[in-house]
């Protein structure tokens, strides 16, 4: 993936197995978010291939990729702030709904019924994350705290029952405790959905170690290494990328 003269992603070879939680780590500007954007279709890759579930989805539109079963959250929360909690969650569940004029405008009785069902579904999902929000699902998202907004974003990404979920730094802007709490919630949700695959961008290594089954380290758009948390923490290349190279006496 190139932007003008800048190569943002290069020789990034990454296999993700079904049911994994893959941690994506790397310093700022190493191409983690760009990787998400390429896979979810926001950027068209200038080269390479994205294969999902046996299908080549390279260069598909974001809609098509969402319909194939890939969903995501954003680094900087992109909820529709003026819309209610329910509306925001509902946005993630559009592919199953009838969007025609007939079903929406003329057959209101049937619409009210499906609407009630959807509200029920959204409530169930929110209850898993924060039961306190159930009572206020018709209030605007703008009133919520950061962690609750993250929760809503995760609900929005999950309600459409994706096969692959990208979480772009879900801990950004939250305290350590909040992050831990959110991760526990994600893990408990994951235990209900064995087949769901998650790719997680995270800076805090402790969290990566706790949550993920596998990690990949990026630097300057290239993959340094991948493997279990233990194997990458010991890898000198990774330490170099994060901390800089240790200067040995010989070189001085």
């Amino acid at each position: 993936m190139r932007f003008g003269g800048l190569t943002a992603l290069d020789r990034l070879d990454l296999d993700i197995d079904e049911g994994d939680i893959l941690g994506l780590v790397g310093p700022n500007g190493s191409g983690k978010t760009t990787f998400f954007n390429v896979v979810t279709g926001i950027y068209r890759p200038t080269g390479g291939q994205v294969v999902f579930d046996g299908w080549d989805i390279t260069g598909f539109s974001p809609q098509a990729i969402f319909e194939a079963g890939i969903s995501r959250t954003f680094q900087r929360s992109r909820l529709c702030l003026e819309l209610s909690i329910f509306d925001n969650i509902m946005l993630g569940n559009f592919k199953t709904r009838d969007l025609g004029i007939c079903g929406n405008i003329f057959r209101r009785r049937a619409f009210h019924k499906t609407c009630a069902e959807e509200i029920e579904k959204a409530v169930e999902l929110i209850r898993l994350l924060n039961p306190a929000l159930v009572g206020s699902i018709h209030r605007p998202v703008a009133d919520l705290s950061m962690i609750d907004r993250r929760r809503i974003e995760i609900c929005r990404a999950l309600i459409g029952k994706p096969k692959l979920l990208f979480l772009d730094e879900p801990s950004a802007g939250m305290t350590h405790d909040e992050t831990n709490q959110l991760m526990d919630e994600i893990l408990s949700m994951k235990s209900d959905e064995r087949r769901l695959t998650i790719v997680l961008i995270e800076h805090e290594m402790g969290i990566i170690g706790k949550v993920t089954t596998r990690c990949a380290v990026l630097n300057f758009g290239e993959k340094l290494c991948d493997g279990t948390y233990r194997s990458i923490v010991g890898n000198p290349l990774v330490q170099e990328a994060y901390l800089g190279r240790e200067v040995t006496e010989d070189e001085v």
Binding site: F3, T33, N37, Y43, F74, R78
Partner: protein, 307 residues
């Protein structure tokens, strides 16, 4: 087609193009520093013309014997200074308070401001609802080339307008002040952190843009020898179109857009001689097509948004 007629059309196109470019430069400058479209800019042109007329009458009243060249200079500078001051007031009391508002609000607010200016001139300028004769301040020398008439005042206006635009472009691209303006245009917050006086730069930009508009108004008056309260509306839309065709925020784009629009009109007149009114239908039709081909203007960089 007669060659001298073509020449005449070419001269007209150049004059109109210069006028449109002068208006478009203001649009593009304001968009650059504040990301707003100031739609009342067209009416600033009209105010410029009326201010010029008033200063001329004032001159005649105070010292009737003043030499014409002095009167011309006085009228030009006084008119431009007046509108520059007015532009600063507008930026301070209308544009800045709306900085965080949605683009549509600013656009509509400035359209309303334009209506207020237009109506104020119509109602409060003596006999403002009728066209006013504009004095001939430039010598009426002319040369004949076959059937085409080349007038001295046209050349003078064209050169003066060109110098003004070049001056503005030099100011923006090669001075410290211009660098501050460009810095604000790139990133207002970062510029402020680096010590640029943001409110001052905004005021300055509005003063420059409005003064240029005032000159376009004077040029309009001297070219047609008649002004009316309504002239700003169409000039505003055309100036806006020119700035947008060229690519908002790009001063060369504005100049290019102005001439493109003028020659579209001229071409429309030539191609559809049965009714000159179709020239605007043609020009605006082409604008729509151009927007479909170049959705962000002809001279503009494609930006990718951050996700």
């Amino acid at each position: 087609m007669d060659i001298s007629l073509l020449l005449q059309f070419f001269i007209n196109g150049c004059m109109l193009g210069m006028m449109y470019a002068l208006v478009a430069v203001g649009f593009t400058l304001f968009f650059g520093v504040l990301d707003v479209i100031v739609f009342s800019h067209g009416d600033s042109v009209m105010v410029g013309a009326f201010a010029g007329l008033s200063f001329y009458l004032l001159c005649m009243y105070l010292s009737p014997g003043m030499p014409v060249w002095l009167v011309t200079l006085f009228v030009s500078f006084a008119g431009m200074a007046f509108v520059a001051g007015f532009g600063m007031l507008v930026s301070r009391f209308v544009i800045m308070p709306l900085r965080s508002a949605p683009a549509l609000n600013t656009l509509l607010a400035t359209m309303m401001l334009g209506t207020v200016m237009r109506e104020a001139v119509r109602l409060f300028f003596p006999d403002g609802s009728n066209p006013k004769p504009f004095p001939r301040l430039l010598p009426d020398w002319s040369w004949k080339f076959g059937g085409a008439l080349l007038r001295f005042d046209n050349i003078a206006l064209f050169i003066a307008g060109g110098l003004l635009i070049v001056g503005v472009a030099l100011l923006i691209n090669h001075t410290r002040l211009g660098m501050a303006i460009r810095a604000v245009a790139q990133d207002a917050e970062a510029a402020q952190i680096m010590g640029v006086d943001f409110p001052f730069i905004v005021l300055l930009t509005f003063a420059i843009g409005s003064a240029v508009a005032a000159f376009a108004g004077l040029m309009n008056g001297l070219y047609y020898n008649e002004i009316n309260f309504n002239l700003g509306l169409l000039l505003g839309v055309i100036g806006f179109s020119s700035a947008v065709i060229g690519g908002l925020g790009n001063i060369y784009g504005a100049i290019l857009g102005g001439f493109v629009f003028a020659f579209l009109q001229v071409f429309g007149t030539v191609a559809m001689p049965f009714s000159s009114a179709y020239k605007d239908v043609f020009a605006f039709g082409v604008v729509i097509v151009l927007m479909a081909i170049f959705p962000t203007g002809i001279l503009s960089e494609r930006q990718s948004q951050r996700v």
